[in-house]
């Protein structure tokens, strides 16, 4: 069973603010899911290479050529803009 403190820590790392009710909910749900996931321990994976992608492609390279981007990416931001910069709240 995941503890309440663990849920609060994970929420912090996730940058999510949870209510007391949500903390309990996540505690129950995640504990249930991870209890079930424990079964992976049964699988012998000694000496097995991990798979993080399935294409088998390695070092997909292309010429280092700058392509002109035509979209307006600044428009995607909901923040105020000053010239070509996005104005964000204070860091601290």
């Amino acid at each position: 069973m995941l503890t309440k403190e663990e849920i609060i820590k994970i929420a912090h790392l996730s940058r999510l603010q949870l209510t007391e009710e949500e903390i309990t909910k996540h505690q129950n749900e995640l504990s249930g899911v991870f209890d079930f996931f424990e079964m992976l321990e049964e699988v012998d994976t000694d000496g097995v290479e991990p798979t993080s992608q399935v294409t088998g492609l390695e070092d997909a390279l292309r010429k280092d050529v700058v392509l002109k981007y035509k979209g307006d990416l600044l428009e995607c931001s909901p923040q105020n803009k000053i010239g070509t910069q996005i104005s964000v709240p204070n860091v601290f």
Partner: protein
């Protein structure tokens, strides 16, 4: 005038000037206005672009040139596929007002092929879900029974194609999100091999699993779309330079034989707990049908099947938590007013992400955090290797596998939403294809429990041609297309 129900039919009508592109476009627009819009509609389309569609159709008519492969064919994009100037919400509040600044490679290729975009269609939030109920934008229902879910996450695509509100839709499949909704709505859906279709311009769920493909009335329609959208893209480094076949050359024939084809049946799937008895019976009938058509049926055992769900969910939620880190209230979509940056991250993400997305981020963050990485994430990566190997050796023995798509038929809206683990377990027949990177084609066979049912044909990576060929023969033999046309047109 009655609508054409396949791409081939529409193409022929346009080429012989039996109908103009504008009239065809308007026929589909009228259907959307009649069946999709409003409180009592299906609710598949989240945004439409009828004016642009009509203009494009007029231009085609004026040129009189219908030689482009999909000239005048109306379609929709799942609301995670970028179309410049249109919203791309991913079914999320956090992107509710986000307008795509460019076209996804797929959208660009389809435009170049002459296809006419009617709009964007609903999805579970960030494609996480199997019922479309996780969409924060709107509710979508199953056109066969409005109290049932359309499946998900490509539920907008499946419901709209089943009701002929377009002749195909582009969806995404991370663990079944094309095949399962296609199954629930009685249409065909193709999950391509990982890397067969470019992911550029498509909002990511889990980057090493996501695949892009068509949902369409028939297997032949899927093939015709695939030959346009497949291929290497320099904007997606995971698309190998493997030749794109003329997939429709194997699906346009009316030949009804599977002679010479060796098809495997996965023992662990047939014995799976929770497989609805009626669906199982129907599946066994499909195997008999394949046999009758000349296929050699071989039983295959894939003992690691029982580990597929934990492996899959550990990995996709980890990848999702990383991909969703970009939604910080600075670069995209919605934001909360705050005093400092950290508070802004916190408030924006808490306010605008839905429940399943939060659950995914929590799960993924946990498994990737210090102390748990090896036990969960790395372990799952290794089991993934073994599952992939199991499929590799299965495909040394058979040309393709035949399998059920979902353990049950389309369920009632609200019936399963509160139980995440049960929802996860229901993905047992679809997630292995994404773990192994292979391709899978979902086709409708018959009605079971008064809703459409079907099977999927799984093939080795980059053997789309084989599964389309087999799927086409089975689809024609079952003739579900006639049932659908009878009820949906």
């Amino acid at each position: 005038m009655t609508i054409p129900t396949t791409i081939a039919q529409a193409k022929k009508m346009l080429e012989t000037k039996e109908i103009t592109a504008l009239d065809l476009t308007n026929l589909f627009i009228q259907r959307i206005e009649k069946f999709d819009a409003g409180e009592n509609g299906i609710g598949a389309y989240t945004e439409t672009c009828f004016d642009i569609a009509r203009k494009q159709a007029e231009k085609l008519d004026a040129s009189g040139d219908f030689s482009k492969p999909l000239a005048g064919i109306p379609y929709s994009l799942k609301d995670v596929v970028s179309k410049k100037g249109m919203k791309n919400t991913a079914g999320s509040k956090i992107l509710e007002n986000y307008i795509a600044p460019h076209d996804a490679t797929v959208a660009k290729k389809l435009e170049d092929s002459g296809a006419i975009l009617l709009g964007k269609v609903n999805t579970d939030e960030f494609t996480m879900g199997s019922s479309c109920e996780n969409s924060a934008i709107q509710k979508t229902v199953n056109p066969w029974n409005y109290s049932k879910v359309p499946g998900g996450s490509s539920g907008g695509g499946s419901s709209s194609v089943a009701k002929y509100l377009g002749l195909f839709s582009i969806g995404t499949d991370t663990g079944g999100s094309i095949r399962q909704p296609a199954n629930f709505c009685g249409i065909s859906g193709l999950k391509v091999s990982y890397g067969r279709v470019s992911r550029s311009g498509i909002i990511s769920y889990a980057s090493s699993f996501d695949s892009i493909g068509p949902l369409a009335p028939t297997v032949d329609c899927c093939a015709r779309v695939l030959e346009i959208i497949a291929g290497h893209d320099e904007k997606d480094a995971t698309t190998p330079e493997i030749e794109v076949s003329q997939y429709s050359s194997v699906t346009s024939s009316d030949e009804k034989t599977l002679a010479g084809k060796k098809i495997g049946v996965i023992k662990e799937f047939t014995e799976a707990e929770g497989l609805d008895a009626e669906i199982k019976k129907s599946f066994e009938k499909s195997i008999e049908t394949a046999k009758k058509l000349g296929a050699e049926i071989v039983e295959i055992s894939l003992p690691l099947t029982k580990y597929a769900i934990p492996t899959y969910y550990l990995l996709v939620k980890a990848e999702a938590s990383t991909n969703l880190a970009r939604y910080d209230g600075i670069r995209f979509g919605s934001t909360s007013e705050c005093e400092n940056l950290d508070e802004q991250y916190l408030k924006t993400r808490s306010e605008f992400f839905g429940e399943e997305v939060k659950r995914a981020i929590m799960m993924g963050t946990y498994t990737l955090s210090a102390g748990y990485f090896d036990a969960y994430y790395l372990k799952a990566c290794k089991v993934r290797t073994l599952i992939k190997q199991e499929y590799d050796s299965a495909f040394e023995k058979v040309d393709a596998l035949i399998a059920p798509v979902s353990p049950f038929s389309a369920f009632n809206i609200g019936e399963k939403i509160d139980d995440p683990l049960t929802m996860y377990l229901a993905d047992i027949f679809t997630v292995t294809a994404n773990l192994a990177g292979i391709c899978g084609l979902s086709i409708p066979t018959e009605k079971v429990n008064d809703m459409p049912s079907g099977v999927q044909i799984l093939g080795k990576a980059f053997t789309e041609e084989t599964i389309l060929e087999i799927g086409n023969v089975l689809e024609k033999e079952f003739g579900f297309t006639d049932v659908r046309e009878g009820e949906m047109v």
